[in-house]
Symmetry: C2
Subunit: 197 residues, 2 copies
Amino acid sequence: MARPAEATRQNILAHAIDLAARVGLGGLTIGGLAEATGLSKSGLFAHFGSKDTLQVRVLETAGEQFVDAVVRPALRAARGEPRVVELFERWLEWGLGQAAGCVFTAATFELDDQPGPARDALVKLQRDWLDTLAQAARIAVREGHFREDLDAEQFAFELHGLMLVTHESGRLFRDHTSTKRARNGFERLLRDARRPS
Amino acid sequence: MARPAEATRQNILAHAIDLAARVGLGGLTIGGLAEATGLSKSGLFAHFGSKDTLQVRVLETAGEQFVDAVVRPALRAARGEPRVVELFERWLEWGLGQAAGCVFTAATFELDDQPGPARDALVKLQRDWLDTLAQAARIAVREGHFREDLDAEQFAFELHGLMLVTHESGRLFRDHTSTKRARNGFERLLRDARRPS
């Protein structure tokens, strides 16, 4: 079990992730967080020190949650196409389950022109995710599920694009067909990636 | 020629679009804009009245620029696949040419949870763009370039996803291969959409 100080910290971070997904990382202030958690500003400063540290910790903590919810369970699926499918389905579930939207996607288009530790942390997380997708595709090639000449990074690039538009369609347009459209696009990606039988 | 007041207004809006793409629409304040333009806050209030109006005018003006740079020229291309290609290529050029990134994409993931006039304006613009893509695909079906059973809205959805990831890859990762990846993905989309010969 987490020590009390650690439990408090985790509780604060949960509020902070939610706030960041709603108003953006830039809108995540120590003052706003004090309001959301009922804690004092000075107490929050004691935990995080600066806004930069708070932003980086929010991204890292959300990253750990994403790995726990999406990446780790998918690694238990069989190597090859089943694992690629599991990554996609877990991601879909995770994306839809976020009450306030995806903190990474919101941060991506917010921080692209704002150099600093938060941007660096985000670039690392997004690269890790694209690498995870590409690596799963490479394994599917080795397992004989996907064709030998598949460009695994291109596959990851297009799959990630599908995820971004699904997120936009679901959150901005409140379009209930977005899950179905995501699955259609994913099926087309798989069809092109598979070894001709 | 624009009247002086209108020219001033256009000049302010150009600064505002640039600022919004860099720091987000939420970060676009009358104060920040006063700094960027050298105009007084009271003068800016006289032009725009409220932050809401300013945000909506920024989105609408950027939307007009987008139509001038991307949609209108593409309508001069031949109906069918050439027009779809022209929309894609013009969009690519437009996306890469924005010094501070795409104001629509930044706003999309910022405003998805923030109801109000700016979100409404954005939803309308993004829907118009997806409709434009789907309509171009439908015409390509009618012209016999794309297959009869093509789901034009699915085509638009996937194409838009490709655009989002290209933007992310180019701006966040500063990845110079993103244009090539975008073209590869677009080629795959076209291949699947074409009528089997």
